[in-house]
């Protein structure tokens, strides 16, 4: 068993070293691009070291003072927070972060190792997960502090609780990883899960705010007497509190406290028993999920058949047939990947929640978005829609993967390709942006018509300058991505994303300034569309000139793109 564990540790270590050392970069610019992309994880890894030291020192301090019976409240609360964070991340982390290396079940099946040993070897690998690494100093530090304080018996019990806590965290991580892989084996089911994670879960985060706004309105308004209690019902609160008590991190903290207080027969035993039972249950379920995954490791799910072979195709006005084909393909990509669908849905969902909250609170919530009408809200919503194209626009060649080779083999000029991509990206966000403006106008009408008309022009002017910058950044910083991925795996290159946000802001400033000048300086809102339209003309000329330069850049970098994406 030790030999197997050593082999797995060796393999993980070399995978890490090779990913850092052998980048396969072909020139200086590509080396720079790869180095920038790796900077984030490296900084995170470096940050982990002082974090581990600080948490470890805090744990020793807490243990020492616990032994003396005068531990400051903040120390235990801090440790409780770390333990709760580690528990939460053990569930969320494997969903949000890629863990394909850990669960290449086909490769594992070929090894002459029993399933139980495979499970143990895989589980041992999770100790390197940052959330578990951060928990280790707590689990060692507190008993060490207790030993320093002379509480040997308590230290032994707390050390046992710590070992069980680690076992629970590893079990949670393994169970989540295997459950997620079982779910996403079916591509459609996996896409649904990804979309749920990207769109619905962040939106759920706004629910407490919505409920609070609703509650406040009931308390302040005339409807108070009819619905005196807008808080959750008592049974729900009681159930939540009881459920929280059996969260592993709470069991660990409770066990630590009880061990120190000397209630050897009762609470520490209960807490340790609870942790033991939790660890057994979680690992049991984890092993079942793992075995199930190994039973059928390949992709499952029905293959869609039939449905005819007719395809809609058309040439967009002002575009060549080739550029239209590129634009249409980009547009289709948005509808067929979780990340693309999130670009279409997330801003709209967010916008609807904002409207709901503003209406519920009578305009007191998010007052900065509300004037006497919905203009500010429409501006906010439509810009969020425009910016949501970032993951596509800032990596517009990388997202095509091997489709880019098909494009590069096709008789398409650089200009046609870039124009097609720009139009395709615009087509993805124009629908949600218009819906936001129309909704804001419909729900909160009023204000000068000229300013409502001005808003689409501002968006157009912003996009005209952003599009060539996005193409250039995608050319310089390509990143092979998986648009099925929930988090980092589908993100553009970090440098491209950052520069992209800056470009959006910079490109939006001139039309915003011109609008502000028309409204506040000249006090004539009717001038705003004229000013912005003029700026659109200038931006269009700049767009054409910039695209000529980007086309040259693309021609120089096409080989790197073909080989790196």
């Amino acid at each position: 068993m030790l030999r197997t564990l050593r082999a797995f540790a060796w393999m993980h270590w070399h995978v890490l070293l090779n990913s850092l050392g052998r980048t396969g970069a072909r020139d200086t610019l590509e080396r720079f691009s790869i180095a920038m992309d790796q900077l984030g994880p490296i900084i995170a890894a470096v940050m982990l070291v002082p974090s581990v030291i600080v948490i470890g020192a805090l744990a020793v301090y807490a243990g020492y003072h616990l032994a003396a019976g005068n531990a400051p409240a903040f120390t235990l609360n801090a440790l409780r927070f770390v333990a709760l964070g580690a528990t939460t991340l053990s569930v969320v982390g494997p969903i949000a972060l890629p863990a394909s290396e850990r669960t290449n079940a086909v490769r594992l099946l070929l090894l002459p190792i029993s399933r139980k040993l495979l499970y143990i070897a895989q589980a041992a690998g999770t100790v390197s997960d940052p959330w578990i690494t951060l928990m280790l100093p707590v689990l060692i530090g507190v008993p060490a502090g207790l030993v320093l304080g002379g509480a040997w018996m308590a230290a032994t019990l707390v050390l046992c609780a710590g070992a069980l806590m680690i076992a629970v965290l590893i079990g949670l991580s393994m169970l989540t990883t295997n459950a997620v892989h079982l779910l996403v084996r079916d591509r459609r089911r996996g896409e649904m899960l990804a979309l749920l994670f990207i769109v619905v879960i962040p939106a759920l985060g706004l629910l407490p705010g919505m409920l609070e706004a609703r509650g406040r309105r009931h308390r302040d308004g005339p409807a108070v007497s009819s619905r005196p209690d807008a808080n959750p019902p008592t049974w729900l609160r009681t159930a939540s509190a009881r459920l929280f008590e059996i969260v592993p991190s709470e069991l660990y903290i409770k066990g630590t406290r009880a061990a120190v207080e000397g209630q050897l027969a009762a609470s520490p035993g209960a807490a340790l028993g609870g942790l033991t039972l939790t660890a057994i249950l979680i690992h049991g379920f984890g092993l079942i999920a793992f075995s199930h995954l190994l039973d059928s490791p390949s992709v499952s799910g029905p293959r869609r058949t039939g449905g005819g072979t007719r395809v809609w195709r058309g040439t967009l006005p002002g575009l060549s047939a080739s550029a239209s084909a590129v634009a249409l393909t980009q547009f289709r990509l948005a509808f067929r990947t979780p990340r693309g669908r999130s670009i279409l849905l997330s801003p709209l969902l967010l916008f609807l929640i904002f409207i709901f909250m503003i209406r519920r609170s009578g305009g007191t919530e998010f007052s900065f978005l509300m004037g006497t009408n919905g203009l500010r809200l429409a501006t906010f919503g439509s810009f969020v829609c425009l910016m949501s194209i970032l993951p596509f626009a800032m990596n517009q060649f990388g997202i095509d993967k091997s489709g880019l080779t098909l494009v590069l083999l096709s008789p398409i000029t650089e200009s046609e390709l870039l124009l097609g991509k720009a139009v395709g990206n615009a087509a993805i966000v124009v629908g949600p942006a218009i819906i936001c403006i129309a909704l804001a106008f419909g729900v909160f009408p009023g204000g000068p018509a000229s300013l409502w008309l001005n808003l689409p022009l501002v968006l157009l002017a912003t996009y005209l300058l952003t599009a060539p910058a996005a193409a250039a950044l995608s050319t310089i910083f390509p990143r092979a991505v998986d648009l099925n991925s929930i988090r980092r795996g589908s993100n553009p290159h970090g440098a491209a994303a950052l520069a992209g946000i800056a470009t959006f802001v910079a490109a939006g400033l001139p039309p915003a300034a011109l609008t502000a000048a028309a409204v506040y300086l000249f006090d004539r809102p009717t001038l705003a569309p004229l000013f912005t339209l003029t700026w659109c003309g200038i931006a269009f000329v700049m767009n054409r000139l910039l695209f000529i330069l980007v086309a040259r850049l693309f021609a120089k970098r096409r080989e790197n793109l073909a080989l790196s994406v």
Partner: protein, 253 residues
């Protein structure tokens, strides 16, 4: 002799590694040219250079009489390619993929629809219907990639391992299709490790080893020139200098 592909001193370096080392290809028009070589010999790199995916470090090329470095779009209009990575959009369906290729090649909608229909039938991909390429098996992808290469009715086809991963029935269909393509005046430049197929289909052979072209000509010319055995396998092993390599006994097996 009219040449479909002609190179002079074609060289491609990757850093200090020379993948293709000054090769002079002469692929006759209307021929079925088998481009052979051991793994890592430089076959795919050569195809990438010829199809414009890679820029040669030095040397000249003429594809169907045109220099692809100066007029790549014109060359690409007349060639079809099945590259190593198959080059397909994962999130398009088979009909959409063919529609995309047809549109960028400037085919009108009716012609594109008709040709796509024919190709999907021949490649047995009609049943895939609205399935996305990402759900395709390797064989289906290969057939779709070949269909995409054929839909613009090119005059020259570059095929990088087209028979790898294809079942016997589909392989026979594709062989017949390719022979029909050549008989109608097309030229095929093909790499494959399946020497039996190459021997059966090719009119001309080029052999590359360690980036250098070690032999080129019709199979008959090569046999008479080298006097190295009768089968293509023997000829190939002799040309790449592998006849002296003996397999270690591995007594522990």
């Amino acid at each position: 002799m009219e040449l479909a592909v002609e190179t002079r001193g074609l060289t491609r370096d990757f850093g200090s590694f020379r993948a293709v080392d000054g090769i002079d290809l002469a692929v006759p028009a209307r021929s079925f040219y088998g481009f052979l070589g051991p793994n890592g010999a430089g076959k795919s790199t050569t195809i990438k250079c010829l199809t414009g995916l890679l820029r040669p470090t030095s040397g000249t090329m003429r594809i169907l009489g045109t220099d692809p470095m100066t007029d790549s779009v014109s060359v690409k209009r007349r060639i079809g390619v099945v590259p190593e990575d198959l080059a397909l959009f994962e999130r398009l369906t088979a009909p959409e993929t063919l529609s995309f290729v047809a549109q960028v090649h400037g085919l009108d909608a009716a012609t594109a629809r008709s040709r796509a229909n024919d190709l999907l039938t021949v490649m047995d991909l009609k049943s895939a219907g609205q399935a996305l390429v990402t759900d395709f098996s390797h064989g289906m992808r290969k057939k779709l990639s070949l269909a995409a290469a054929l839909i613009p009715a090119p005059r020259l086809l570059f095929l990088d391992e087209p028979f790898e991963g294809i079942d016997a029935v589909a392989s026979r269909q594709i062989r017949e299709l390719l022979l029909s393509f050549v008989s109608r005046g097309g030229t095929i430049f093909l790499t494959s490790h399946i020497l039996e197929i190459v021997e059966r289909l090719s009119t001309h052979i080029g052999v590359i080893a360690s980036g250098r072209l070690v032999a080129q000509g019709s199979i008959a010319e090569l046999r008479s020139g080298t006097g190295m055995g009768k089968s293509l396998e023997e000829l190939f092993i002799g040309l790449v200098g592998a006849e002296s390599q003996t397999t270690p006994p591995l007594d522990w097996i």
